[in-house]
């Protein structure tokens, strides 16, 4: 992740990295490695790509306060991405760092669900996506606090507090805009309708989910559907918005590396510097 300039003390970064970590046998479990690596990338990439999308609002927010809020939200998400990808790199044990994973993988190696890579659209769609993902993220992190992996559990406990804050904020704004003017209501309904067919991917299990669930590391994706639905219906009810009566699992594949065309454009921008000037620091 982008680190701060290291002006005076070149050892600071090395010193900080020598962290004492809780013992965690899962991290070195060879049989589990491919699934655990993929699953950690899903957590990290979801946060990274949504964080990058959210950061696109920096300097373009509809009001100064919203601009600052979105930039702070992006910062939180990119912080979560750093924690997950750092652990992914450690599990992989191939000498790659979190930065290598973020800036040097191609689109087909990214494991984020498609919903986070879609363009922001207007502020309504941005906030609706934030809400839909936050509500999932919140339930996931809540469950992960009881993970059999202490390393996963400590990241979840840390990130969970920040995501609770984000979910409160997103819920509040979705309600105010949904139950707002005719124009804001219509835009929020359109945003929900547009994003709906991408939400099912969050709850669709595959072999990776199965393997980490078997190891007690994470819940199956499908286990989060019930609590997510409850939050969704409560907030949409308050927002006077209609939950679509259509299938939600239409656009799948992001978790397995099959992405929309939009991800390539994000990476072209996000990875430009490291691709053009490998190893550059600032």
């Amino acid at each position: 992740m982008p680190s701060l300039p290291d002006m005076a003390t070149p050892e600071a970064e090395r010193l900080a990295q020598e962290a004492a970590q809780p013992a965690d046998p899962h991290i070195t479990d060879v049989a589990l490695k491919p699934a655990l690596f993929d699953w950690l990338c899903r957590m990290g990439d979801g946060a990274l790509i949504l964080g990058h999308r959210t950061s696109e609002w920096c300097g373009h927010g509809p009001a100064l306060e919203e601009d600052i809020a979105l930039a702070n939200t992006a910062l939180d998400l990119i912080g979560h991405a750093a924690l997950w990808l750092e652990l992914a790199a450690e599990v992989e044990a191939q000498g790659r760092t979190a930065d290598d994973l973020a800036y040097l993988r191609d689109a087909m190696r990214f494991r984020n669900p498609q919903i986070v890579e879609l363009p922001n659209g207007d502020i309504g769609r941005t906030l609706m996506r934030e809400f839909l993902y936050d509500a999932w993220h919140y339930e996931m992190l809540l469950k992960l606090r009881d993970s059999s992996s202490p390393r996963v559990a400590e990241i979840a406990a840390k990130a969970g507090k920040e995501v609770a804050y984000q979910l409160d904020r997103a819920s509040d704004l979705v309600i105010r805009l949904g139950d707002g003017t005719e124009e804001s209501h219509a835009r929020m309904q359109a945003a929900l309708d547009h994003l709906w067919p991408y939400t099912g991917e969050l709850f669709t299990d595959d072999a990776v989910d199965e393997a980490v669930a078997e190891a007690g590391i994470a819940p199956r994706a499908s286990e989060l559907q019930g609590p997510w639905d409850a939050t969704l219906r409560e907030v949409m009810g308050e927002a006077t918005l209609t939950v679509p009566d259509r299938r939600a699992d239409v656009h799948l594949g992001g978790k397995q590396g099959r992405h929309t065309e939009h991800l390539g454009y994000i990476l072209a921008e996000m990875q430009f510097l490291q691709r053009a000037y490998p190893g550059a620091e600032w």
């Binding site: 701060l4 600071a12 819920s171 907030v235």
Partner: protein, 174 residues
């Protein structure tokens, strides 16, 4: 360095009490509650530091400042560890730190009001808005309103006083 001349961990904590938070320089890193542990492992000093927010850009800078302070005090053999667990909470702000924040114009956090991810809809239903009664750090009025859940740094929210009309930062409760 021979063992009997190693400074005590209390002494070292006092030194770190001189390291200001880079974003709110009136409080120190120990005031903020992010220095979790100071111990000697043989002749090596180990300082465990926890981040406030996962993405806080000041984290690397704080480590650098701690390193500079320790070197300044003649400590050469040390390690700074990142500790994630238990996660930082604004409850760890010392009472002195809260008064320093208030005097600086930042309303200190109100303990026990951290968001739980379930409050917004409920609060919206009950009150039409979800403001806490945050006292204005300038005039003490409780007639204040939230402008934004986020402020000038990751750890603050933006508020406004309806009495003295001044905007102010509120140190978020997390």
């Amino acid at each position: 360095m021979v063992t009997d001349t190693l400074p005590s961990t209390d002494t070292i904590r006092n030194w770190l009490g001189e390291v200001p938070d880079p974003e709110i320089p009136v409080i120190s890193v120990t005031d903020l509650g992010i220095v979790r542990d100071i111990s000697w492992q043989g002749d090596t000093l180990v300082v465990a530091v926890t981040p406030t927010y996962s993405g806080c850009p000041a984290t690397a800078f704080i480590n650098m400042e701690i390193e500079a302070k320790l070197r300044d005090k003649g400590i050469e053999d040390f390690r700074i560890e990142r500790r994630l667990s238990p996660p930082w909470t604004s409850d760890w702000l010392t009472p002195e730190a809260r008064e320093k924040l208030r005097a600086y114009g930042i309303a200190p956090p109100i303990d026990g009001t951290a968001p739980d991810g379930r409050t917004a809809a409920r609060a919206a239903r009950l009150a039409g808005r979800s403001n806490l009664a945050v006292d204005c750090p300038r005039c003490g009025s409780t007639d204040t309103e939230k402008v934004s859940q986020h402020g000038s740094t990751p750890c603050k929210a933006a508020y406004r006083c309806r009495d003295c009309l001044e905007p102010f930062d509120y140190f978020k409760c997390i």
